[in-house]
Symmetry: D2
Subunit: 377 residues, 4 copies
């Protein structure tokens, strides 16, 4: 199950913007990708963060050669070939467009942008630089278990896919006493649960089921106001959303996401019913895949192992758990393989726009059916 | 947790129509209810089945005194007080109405009827005989785990309920080679998965969340034709259905049911997200309930035991599994408690009509929102 | 998977001694066995309990014709053919021997007796009445999942069995503040966890693995004293026990039981490693069996259903849970089939003595190896 | 839950011997430890492998500056401060002793050595160089879930520990057609399952329960011969082992390990019964910990998250899985903290010898009780 992809054989220069959750995750991916998958070790050239002090501190910790508090410097640095962007969502568009215009490859965290208009503009900019690779940070597409499920469906292991049932729930906003923040406004936070979580579920759904043709959805602000120093303030963007979908294949889908689901931590969970079997996955147990095939007695638990894509590069032994951060190493490899001239498995900015169209349609539906026009071929 | 309900202290006469899956289940319930819960032992007077021979055979096996191939005889028998109806769905209306008109209490298997018009007529008939008890066989409402979950939600254990997510999937029609049958037509089988399975999920949903105000749904005939001796024939009623719902409480719900979900045997599974916790249940593991409350580390698995309603009457020891058939003994007790003059916990025919209205609205929605008018107070 | 056993075609007279947990369970088994499996309905002749009042009350509730506070009367009643004995363990020997001497078949709850000497005497008495059937209440041998596992091992589904790993843990004595009782003495309670729980695990082990040739064990009184009105009193019999075993087949076994395992309610859990596969079972989820076979990706969860022994007589639908009490209906059927002249699948008193020898050897081992001599062929 | 340990603030020189499963794992740990935990980035000086070509290839891939096919060169290199030894077990003693004598700190993969005599000699050598740190690669001690469990037991969360029940099973030798190899001899492979797997379980047991005072064990060669080109050859070392243990605390333990347990991939599974609760862990689901405390309804599933030791340094979000390889990063941090002058959490060579004594006692017991003398204070 070891698939070798051709990787760049000369060192690339890397810039990293942001040092939070995802910033550190990108840094570790850059430190590991060559050790895991081979190819050249790349140069960690420059790291940008909010202040000169924090930039310097994290450049030292993550092993970057230089630091800056001016992201414009990082994205235009002549020694840089690839820019990792992990800044707040509202900065995605200016940073990504500046990097593209400076001739860089761009690795951008999801969601693409705060608004659909921004996402459309970014996809247009990316299209204007066809020689540069764009990649969005949909890391949950990279786990061996997910890749294995996707391949099994593609290869007909469960026959013709008839139905998708998916949820992505967390509880980071479940506490009604959680204070109001600008992230709960449209202007500051864009979509709510759909933007944070729902877009990941759409990325899985598209990879498993193919394009969506129509969607009808309902959203909910479950906790309408939040405390603030000035008293209760109104929450604008959705705490949860439900949707029903039709796929171009004729299959049917249900979709739900919530940021107020008490006890759920990373429940990106779905199942696909096929004419000859069913596959079930839950990211909270990302090292398990459950498969039932017609004629078998029940569901079989597949522990992640070297029989699944990309696992063997990390570890030769089954049942030895793959980690969340390692997904990002696979993502870096996918980006590098595209830079080396191989196909871009994406999602690139065009495919990212497709995801944005679907979640914005959900946000706007209010119980009415909306047709989805395709962005990509 | 032992709640004593007053039961009839004089023996009632029982008639049973039908001897299949549910017929046997009713017979065992009648044989056990007094031994388990106390009260009088009732007289198993007469059993009706398709032929004199099968009626006689099963009357002997189940311990009924007399047998008949004419159901009219059973429902009008002067020694009979209660009629258990487990005949094919198309016979529910004539049998139930005849029994009511003959002055009997009626215990009827779900779904109420093939058509909404029939269900409405039956509810009207029942309303005309207010001194007679009607009870529908929604046995999944009776398990200790379900009752415990319902009570916890009612008592605020998870705070204010915000969202319901439910599915009921089986795979009894999943094989594309399963031959066409009259059950796959509207005239013979009424609704498909919604009638067989979906109505059970609605019964859980209403008990947990209260009344529904609107629904939007999509149905699917996943396997459009089935083999028959005359060649492929078209399937009319739905293999699966999806819905989104609003509750009078302001909460939101998602709903899915399928009879073509490979590997699922009795997956009546739901979760309720509350402002202070989450409850999760799956009928395939009907002796487990999963509860998370704000501040706890994760979900706790509650094994069924005497701390849950009605279990102690069957067994004093926790972790000793309650069985599917025992749900029916609880249902018989509920029926008898209503006959003895206590409140009818239902679903009676009025509440059953409410369930029917919802599933027929789902069947008719085709992506449009339908308002649900309440039947009961 | 419906195996029909010949059952008595004439009604037998039944006596029941005891009305607690197991008394009620026997009563329900007698009320159901014919309805479930066919054959004659038997006469519930006489029930014996501690006082005339309780005997009368439970005779009415369970449907027995007569009541007595003198067990001697029940075991010698001329209308009685079979005696169900569910009295305290210290009464098992006198009751069972009196019943045998009165010409009755005996259905006796486990453990057989308080002492090994008593068990030996009882086996000798039973051997003196070869025309009368004895059956011990090892109900966990009767579930469809257990029977299916036993058959799979017998049929070579997992190849040659190499190792058994079993535990039976509960927590009924885990609270250190639980008061001292005579059940914690050798004279009053016999063995502790080994007698209550361990013997069940031995019954599974022998059924799956065949005879034991040697055992080495350790016991533990985890909570050495218990509160009593006179101050702390010493606990004599074991709270927990560990053992290692050799089987005649050459396989190896590990064994553990505890009555002080916090959170365990009915964890009779084991796995058998075979040369070509592994089977795993846990009574707390008695409707699941987990099977792995060489070449498969992992363990498959088999939900109980009509493909497993005896389930179809209760219910035609898979995934519809079998209950603890229904095990006893299967046990009644097994007893009746032996009375009707079929083979006694046991455990009869000779096989029960074999179980007692093993648990008493465990209690006595104190880290030394003890050879087990076989009782039965 | 972020505990900061002081790490070296000047770069150390690192040598790595071996490039297989564990070699790659050490390399990634060295590449990540500073990025994750802070402190100086260390110099990857020299890598040693079997041939000059493979050494060069892996030095390039893992980012080491130089390569050699002579391990003696790596362990004596003047620019090297720490030697990672991941060579075959038979080489552990000469390599570790040479490194110690050359003034290096030693990070050695388990098991320490092929024979108890070798382990004793190595511990003596380490004792002669008290200024140099030794650390053994018991990576399963490092996961956040394990550390959390250990801390909870230490802090009395489950009261007084009464019993340990542990297994470590895999199936890498389960196939009877797996060819004979020198690893199946005492001379080439040392102990079998006890050396490969059992020692890990002992490391967990000691960390959770404290010192062992006596052990009685049984071993088994389940598949006595294996195919070879010269015909079937005899397997010398054990395929599986069982043991019962007494701890200095008075608690009791059971222990089992197998390399022929079909379907088990990394089942390092144990539970600890305490007077006030129970903890359960399984390495195959290393991101889950199950806790029951007196008074709670059942077991609660704790997903790994930043509330557990060391997780937050990798990821701020609960439910985002920690990976097998990340355990090794924690181990590197523990080694570096000891080098920086903090306490050595071990296992160092003295503690490693204690583990070896226990597994060699198990191998020798043959059903007799063996007292264990303590190595460490």
């Amino acid at each position: 199950m070891v698939q070798t992809k051709t990787l760049p054989d000369r060192p690339l220069g890397i810039a990293l913007i942001g040092t939070g959750f995802m910033g550190k995750c990108h840094a570790m991916a850059w430190r590991n990708v060559a050790a895991v998958f081979g190819g050249a070790h790349h140069r960690l050239e420059i790291l940008s963060d909010a202040t000169p002090e924090s930039a310097k501190k994290f450049a030292d910790q993550f092993g970057f050669a230089r630091a800056t508090a001016r992201w414009e410097e990082a994205v235009t640095d002549p020694k840089v070939d690839v820019v990792s962007i992990t800044a707040p969502n509202g900065m995605h568009r200016p940073m990504a467009e500046a990097a593209l215009k400076a001739g860089k490859h761009v690795w951008l965290e999801k969601p693409m942008a705060l608004t659909l208009a921004d996402a459309e503009a970014m996809a247009a900019t990316a299209a204007a630089y066809p020689g540069q690779v764009t990649m969005l940070g949909y890391n949950y597409l990279r786990s061996p278990a997910f890749q294995s499920a996707r391949n099994m469906i593609r290869d007909g292991v469960i026959g013709q896919p008839l139905a998708f049932r998916g949820v992505y729930d967390e509880d980071y906003s479940a506490d009604p006493l959680l204070p109001w923040s600008w992230r709960m406004t449209h202007e500051g936070g864009g979509l709510g649960a759909l933007g944070d979580l729902g877009c990941h579920l759409v990325s899985h759904m598209l990879a498993l089921m193919g394009p969506v043709t129509e969607v009808v959805a309902q959203t909910q602000v479950a906790i309408p106001t939040r405390p603030s120093p000035e008293g209760p303030k109104r929450v604008e963007n959705e705490d949860s959303a439900l949707a029903m979908l039709r796929f171009a294949s004729g299959a049917q889908g249900s979709f739900a996401t919530s940021r107020v689901a008490r006890g759920r931590k990373c429940r990106l969970q779905w199942e696909v019913h096929g004419s000859e079997g069913t596959i079930v996955f839950d990211q909270e147990n990302m090292n398990e895949l459950w498969l039932h095939r017609a004629g078998e007695a029940g569901f079989t638990r597949h522990l992640t192992g070297p029989d699944q894509p990309d696992f063997a590069a990390f570890c030769p032994a089954p049942g030895h758990n793959f980690g969340f951060n390692e997904q990002k190493v696979v993502e870096a490899r996918d980006l590098l393989a595209a830079i080396a001239g191989g196909p871009n498995v994406g999602p690139d900015f065009a495919q990212g726009l497709e995801i944005e169209k679907i979640i914005h349609a959900m946000a706007a539906s209010n119980g009415s059916t909306i047709r989805i026009e395709r962005v990509t071929r």
